[in-house]
């Protein structure tokens, strides 16, 4: 494993009146590695990444656990960090981009001003140097005509361009880790592919580590080396992306595969995961996915299920993980459901 950039241990986050929304989450990210965090809304994926960024909502708090950025001499414990610590970490060693880029930029300042400001405040560059570096960064993130983009206001740029601006801002201080929370969800597929490509390139050129939070399994499949599937506030499966997607061991991962974008253009019955995910803080003695799981048995709901190690960096939180469950993962493409359309 390469040098560690982020370590999260036994993280538990609660919201509101002690409703446990994230529990028992542990993972590590190495330098240059990209990890995808996938799950439905309410699975705790966003709270997990907000905890790492120290941006939990006012009602949220970390009950216990450790979040450590960096390794060796640069190690910083982020749980319970003071404001001064956060100021040295956020935007400097930790970068972040979110779903709606327009709402993270000041509409009354040019985008160049907002990038240069970051460089002047956090890196102490002179005005001229900050301008020069800003244009370089805009070039690097693939903005067309960067010198004139510098003088434009957010409303003059498209969503894809704004996301590039935000990426430029978040990598301006050479962070160790970039967190992208649904960063491409609001973009159309062509721009999404371009942004994902940009993130891949930045990982190579800057040795940047990436934590990609998304509900779209296909995006993780295209971008991340490792995957963590979250459900009901817990990590239910983790491992190298290729292996997990080729042979998912948790029924929820299988279910997600069923509803994911498969890149076929055939008429077919669209799969649905029946039921609703548990609400935050819902008390369940056993597996949280059991009520929606087609393979659930009495043993599943009897008591807590541990994240069982499967070797080769893989783990799954399932009682029946060692059994060969029936049903192929991806059903062969079916014949069109209905050829005739009523006249």
């Amino acid at each position: 494993m390469p040098e560690r950039v982020l370590e999260v241990r036994d993280l538990q986050v609660s919201v509101g009146d002690h409703l446990v929304a994230v529990q028992d989450v542990s993972f590590e990210i190495g330098r240059g590695e990209s990890v995808g965090l996938v799950g439905e809304s309410g699975s705790g994926k966003t709270l997990t990444c907000r905890a790492v960024l120290g941006l939990l909502p006012a009602t949220g708090q970390i009950d216990h656990g450790r979040i450590v950025l960096g390794a060796g001499g640069d190690e910083v414990e982020l749980t319970g960090a003071r404001r001064t610590t956060w100021n040295q970490v956020r935007g400097v060693r930790l970068g972040a981009v979110f779903q709606d880029p327009a709402s993270y930029l000041n509409p009354s300042l040019t985008v160049g001003h907002q990038l240069a400001e970051q460089l002047r405040v956090k890196r102490g560059l002179s005005k001229a140097d900050a301008h020069r570096r800003s244009v370089e960064l805009f070039t690097e993130v693939g903005l067309h005509d960067p010198a004139s983009v510098f003088h434009q206001y957010p409303h003059q740029l498209s969503g894809g361009m704004l996301q590039r601006v935000l990426i430029a801002i978040s990598i301006s201080c050479e962070p160790e880790l970039l967190i992208a929370d649904e960063a491409t969800t609001a973009l159309d597929v062509v721009i999404q592919a371009e942004i994902l490509e940009l993130l891949r390139r930045l990982r190579q050129t800057h040795g940047l580590s990436l934590l990609l939070v998304t509900h779209d399994l296909a995006v993780v499949a295209e971008t991340c080396e490792r995957i963590m599937v979250m459900y009901g506030g817990q990590v239910v499966e983790t491992g190298p992306t290729a292996q997990v997607l080729a042979d998912p061991r948790h029924p929820y991962t299988r279910a997600l595969m069923g509803v994911a974008t498969v890149g076929t253009w055939q008429r077919r019955a669209l799969e649905v995961i029946p039921g609703q995910p548990p609400a935050a803080g819902e008390q369940m003695p056993g597996c949280r996915f059991a009520p929606r799981c087609r393979w659930a048995t009495d043993a599943c709901v009897a008591g807590p299920v541990d994240l069982g190690d499967l070797g080769a960096g893989r783990a799954a939180r399932c009682v029946r993980v060692d059994e060969a469950l029936d049903e192929p993962v991806l059903e062969p493409a079916r014949e069109p459901v209905r050829e005739e359309v009523p006249a």
Binding site: S41, D188, V190, A193, A255, G263, R267, R338, E339
Partner: protein
């Protein structure tokens, strides 16, 4: 007619049925130019043609600002076209003005469903009131039958009326809210449902649920449905035809599977190549379709709308091609606005990396 021919004709779009909605050469501009000039800078839709038949699902794809929503708004009469015709059930909608237009809208024969139900549903109304409102506006159904229709509509979208009738939008999940929007839209038993990104705000599972529901509704109610969506794969699961929009123009349309499997317009090719997938199969990569760096500069007006982003742009592209039917072997009913429709595939230079390795 032989059996094979018979089977072949079943797959054909039902051309014998007259279209419910026929949009011909529709142009819309939000900053109308002076009379007699070109469309000006505010052109949101240029020469769009689209037909939708009863019981058919037509998908619309394209990037932000390509005119998808403008088409929806023009169809329901929220914006006035600069040129072109919109015929609904044989009636020219452009001829409707003032009271006639208002009366038509109130009948609820064409309904629009929006992307974000939390913003399009009145937060102060209960589900019962929300679904009932279009019926009260239409006023065609006797009062006592309206409540029954509300209950029936909720059942049609797969919700338990007793559980949701007294709730307000914020007390429901995202998927449930979007189904309430649908129940509201179908309560007047429309003939055409225009869904503007109905699933973009939903999780994959709920996305598939709502799309399957639309698929079922068109069969049960004989609805014509137009769906604006980003997720090509889910759309391909339920739609019959697709229209691809780019910069205010329909650049390609036809049967959805044929269009997405064998794109004729380079932009459609770029779209399908860019769609993420959990499977890594042999397909075009976006890099193969992007223009090479340092390509020629194209003037802003008059040229093909896609020229600046097209790898295959050449001299002929200084003129915007009109949408033309594709010749066989392409499936019938396909058309594209490209000078080298389909033929650009032969010009793909760099093969798939896997193939390259095999060759070397």
């Amino acid at each position: 007619m032989t059996a094979t021919q018979e089977r072949a004709t079943v797959r054909e779009p039902r051309e014998e049925v007259p279209p419910l909605l026929r949009v011909t050469d529709l142009s819309v501009s939000y900053a109308p130019p002076r009379t007699g000039t070109s469309l000006g800078t505010g052109a949101a839709l240029t020469g769009a043609c689209l037909e939708v038949r009863p019981g058919e699902i037509v998908g619309i794809v394209g990037e932000t600002g390509s005119g998808k929503t403008t088409l929806a708004r023009a169809t329901v009469g929220l914006v006035r076209p600069v040129a072109g015709r919109i015929e609904f059930a044989g009636r020219d909608m452009g001829a409707l003005t003032g009271r006639a237009l208002r009366d038509f809208r109130r009948t609820g024969q064409v309904q629009l469903v929006f992307q974000d139900p939390l913003r399009s549903l009145d937060p102060d109304l209960t589900v019962a009131e929300l679904v009932r409102e279009p019926l009260d506006v239409a006023g065609t159904l006797p009062r006592r039958e309206r409540q029954e229709r509300v209950v029936e509509s909720l059942r049609l979208v797969g919700l338990d009326p007793d559980a949701v009738l007294d709730r307000r939008p914020r007390q429901l999940s995202g998927g449930q809210r979007q189904r309430i929007s649908l129940a509201r839209a179908i309560s007047t038993r429309p003939q055409l449902l225009f869904c503007d990104e109905p699933v973009s705000a939903l999780d994959v599972s709920n996305r598939n649920l709502v799309l399957s529901l639309l698929d079922r509704l068109r069969t049960e109610l004989g609805l014509a449905v137009v769906i604006i969506a980003h997720d090509l794969s889910s759309l391909a699961g339920i739609a019959d035809r697709v229209a691809v929009f780019y910069r205010s123009r329909v650049v390609e349309q036809g049967p959805i599977r044929a269009v997405l499997e064998q794109p004729a317009h380079p932009y459609t090719g770029l779209l399908t190549a860019s769609a993420p997938s959990v499977r890594h199969e042999d397909r075009l990569r976006p890099e193969q379709l992007r223009p090479e760096p340092g390509g020629r500069a194209w003037p802003a007006h008059g040229v093909c709308v896609f020229a600046a982003r097209c790898r295959f742009a050449h001299d002929a592209c200084v003129e915007q091609p009109s949408s033309r039917p594709l010749d066989p072997p392409h499936e019938s009913g396909r058309e594209a606005a490209c000078h080298v429709a389909g033929a650009w595939r032969d010009r793909l230079t760099n093969p798939h990396p896997d193939h390259q390795e095999e060759a070397s």
